[in-house]
Amino acid sequence: MELELKGITRRFGSLVANDRIDLSVSPGQVHALLGENGAGKTTLMNVLYGLLQPDEGEILLDGKKAQFTSPKNAIAAGIGMVHQHFTLVPVFTVAENVTLGMEETRPSGLLDRRKARRDVRELSRRYGLEVDPDALVENLPVGIQQRVEIIKALVRDASVLILDEPTAVLTPAETEDLFRIIRQLKEGGTSIVFISHKLKEVQAIADTITVLRRGAVVGNKPPSATEDELAAMMVGRNVQLKVSKDVARPGDVVLDVEDLTVADETGRVWVNEMSFQVRAGEILGLAGVQGNGQTELCEALLGLRPIASGHIRLDGRDLTHSTPRQRLHAGIAYIPEDRQDDGLVGAFSVADNMVLDSYDRPPFSSGLNLHLGAIASNAAERVQEFDVRTQSADAPVGTLSGGNQQKVILARELGREHKVLVASQPTRGLDVGSIEFVHRRIVRQRDHGVAVLIVSSELDEIYALADRIAVMYEGRITGFRPPSVPVEELGLLMAGAEIDAPDAAQPEAGTQPEAAQPEAGEKA
């Protein structure tokens, strides 16, 4: 089916989310929609899926004008969508989820479960989407849940499949699997609209790339376009994708974690006798698939979670049993993985958020008294220094964009005196421009002699920043590697394989300068 969007315009109040967008998708083609957060990708797809009505413009299917007032129309016309957040019922089986909303019954009025199962099996076979129709969705890994979503769309005879940021939740291996499925669907004649802000993926899978910026199409590119070219189109200026950084000059051990074990309230062990050290002036990148204990490790480092056994030392001082405040004062700067929940008080002003963990110390207070003047001038200074885009320092931080919120956290944490920086997923959900900024600041801290621990499930980020890479799997470190390690090897380590790497950097050896490659951003 030939899908064409002509002059689609959609406004929200005074904001133009989509500005006269033209897009055409031919059958059997993967059309990538590339753009930063807020560029209007999702709005456009919601218009196409009937969730939003366009203010102007039209949708043409095989040259005929179509109007979608609800997703029902869109589905009937052969458009399927896999949302960023899945719409599955966790306690239902795969087959039940697939038939949900279009349940077929036997003459007796009972649900025809057998047909549902048969449909799922047939589609799985045809497109290589192996799924057990009787498995409960809640027991399936995220990658498989996504397949269920795809099957759901295919069962409804989708000839255009929209995938909204499909790789955001997947491991590298799962992403490869998804790409294989996409190629198979393409061969079967299905058109795919692939929405993403990740350049590498778009290059790998797309036949055509349309770049959106601030609600408008800035251009079309073939997948052979370079990353720099695409990034520049996306952001509107030249972006340095690779952080330029010098060779690390590691100093003394600052953060020393020894045999750390952390369990949750139910007794499940998340961090299992883990040991590592971070030296002044180096960045240790902790790679791993989400949910392997990284969150718990960070919380334990900050004292938010009790430590079952082991030690945490900062500059030789034992912090194992200190409160979060004592640890912050001892010199830990912390960028939490969930900035909305753990990093900021959304209803507080930018200024208040910038002193959220130092309001109780001079110059911001003395005794009981808060010094509002000092808090305001601090905010004015930091807003300038970190280029926080806000209407004023008194605006609630919740009204800022994700990138600017992260800058507020950076400004706060780096503004305090600190010896260690623990940053968990520091660029999750940020656009290219903000990622560049955050990465540059982190490298700068390293160069100032701070020991940096980066926890990230994005391998690109690990490669871009780390002077030494540790891989975490099920609460343990499966290996330390220099940043020159090939991505396949990291993938194996992330899957739990403990490979002997005779020449690989051991904790001590990894701190040697030659282990840190200047071209760290390059994949080996």
């Binding site: 200026r237 405040r325 929940d341 753990d342 900021l344 959220l356 207070s365």
Partner: protein, 444 residues
């Protein structure tokens, strides 16, 4: 436009730069708008203060209609609507307005008292005979009624700011009243000291109960809504028990305490004929104190951060549990002050009905005051005026005092449902949600 700029164009500040430019332009435009424009926009946008005023207005209109159409004379006149439509409408109008005029005269200002004042031979006799006091009596009564509402309202508003819902103002009120009363009659102390000891005792009596709630929440995670409700029962029955035993007034068989000593009375502010007393000043000072605590001190910063986002507060090193205990302790003390203030200011002895509905009025006052100290002061004065004017309204127009409770309930209903008010007055939704935040959070 920068959107059309070719990819990778060398404009180094690029689009983000122009974004700041437009933002700055917007800001300067904002400051250039006239006061009238801002006023009109703020009314149209239906922000929380507008919603509250409209809620009060709407409640008064509906209360008037209810009042008019439950009056037998009005109903009779409306029975003859087609023969004498003017009389029917006039009768309804007179009834509704008459009640409100009496309410106003009883709570704020009664012109008859001024007339009486000028009929006196000389000003000095007027003062001596209490005619001048009569002029100010309605205002004095409003303040007297507002005092416990204000203190108890603060006891709900402060925990609200820290993310807690204090349903236990009643039990804390009783705790303060018990200790304040006991210290009032049980010991004898020199003048000034005795009253201070009783006031402090009232605070302590309430604070103990608040502390129990905070400690239970901090240590066991028990939800404060449940524990405060249970403590309300416990304290109500404890009060009955005490009044029937150790605290019973000698020679009485009903549940009433001895009268407190004269030195424990809160001093009158404007002579003995006006009931307004130092308790009102204490309440105003507490409102200021709560404001100062919340917005100008480090513990207040913690309280508010915890109220808005406890997990971020924890990550920032704040001791969430300790703050819960501290907030509930202070809140309990404020409600306790309300209790001892009623005893020391106007009642002088404790019976098992003294606590009345203060605990629940406190919630409505805090709600109407948007959980902010100044708002609580204004809300307490409004409800205090209702309470003060109700008896005169009943005496003069034969309107039942319960209409005042209906008014209060309607106001709170409308404040709690801002979309209702916006729909009635066709307002746009406010950008910064204030009222929603207060009511929507509730027990969550």
């Amino acid at each position: 436009m920068s959107e059309q700029a070719p990819p990778g164009s060398p404009e180094s500040p690029g689009s983000p730069g122009s974004a700041t430019a437009t933002k700055q332009k917007k800001r300067s435009e904002e400051s250039r708008r006239s006061f009238g424009q801002i006023l009109r926009e703020s009314i149209l946008e239906g922000n929380s203060v507008t919603v509250i005023f409209l809620a009060i207005f709407t409640a008064i209109v509906i209360g008037g209609l209810l009042n008019a159409f439950t009056n037998t004379k009005v109903l009779h006149a409306w029975g003859n609507l087609f023969s004498a439509p003017g009389a029917a409408i006039a009768q309804a109008w007179d009834t509704a307005i008459g009640a409100y005029v009496a309410l106003f005269e009883g709570s704020i200002f009664n012109p008859h008292t001024v007339a009486a004042l000028f009929q006196q031979a000389s000003f000095s006799t007027a003062i001596h005979d209490g005619y001048l006091a009569a002029v100010f009596n309605p205002l004095s009564e409003t303040c007297v009624q507002a005092t416990p509402l204000l203190l108890a309202g603060l006891a709900v508003a402060l925990p609200y700011q820290a993310g807690m819902f204090n349903i236990g103002a009643q039990s804390q009120f009783i705790g303060g009243a018990i200790l304040g009363t006991y210290l009032g009659y049980g010991i004898s102390l020199p003048p000034v000291i005795h009253v201070i000891v009783c006031v402090v005792g009232g605070f302590v009596g309430g604070a103990v109960l608040g502390w129990v709630v905070g400690e239970l929440k901090a240590r066991t995670g028990a939800h404060e809504v449940i524990t405060t409700i249970m403590l309300n029962y416990i304290m109500a029955y404890l009060l009955s028990f005490l009044l029937g035993n150790v605290m019973q007034r000698p020679g009485r068989s009903d549940l009433i305490s001895p009268v407190i000593g004269g030195h424990a009375h809160l001093p009158h502010l404007f002579g003995p004929t006006l009931r307004i007393n130092a308790g009102f000043l204490v309440a105003l000072a507490c409102a200021f104190g709560v404001w100062w605590l919340l917005y100008r001190t480090t513990p207040g910063f913690e309280f508010r951060a915890i109220g808005k986002n406890p997990s971020a507060a924890r990550v920032a090193g704040m001791n969430v549990e300790r703050s819960w205990v501290l907030v509930m302790l202070i809140a309990g003390g404020l409600a306790g002050l309300a209790g001892s203030g009623v005893i020391q200011g106007t009642e002088f002895s404790l019976n098992f009905q003294t606590y009345g509905t203060y605990g629940f009025d406190a919630i409505t006052v805090a709600l109407l005051g948007l959980g902010r100290p100044l708002g609580v002061v204004l809300a307490a004065l409004l409800f205090g005026a209702f309470h003060a004017g109700a008896p005169l309204m009943q005496a003069q127009t034969n309107t039942s005092v319960e209409i005042v409770q209906v008014l209060e309930a309607l106001i709170v209903l409308f404040v709690a449902a801002p979309p209702l008010i916006r729909a009635i007055y066709r307002l746009r939704a406010a950008r910064a949600a204030g009222v929603e935040g207060l009511t929507g959070k509730g027990l969550a």
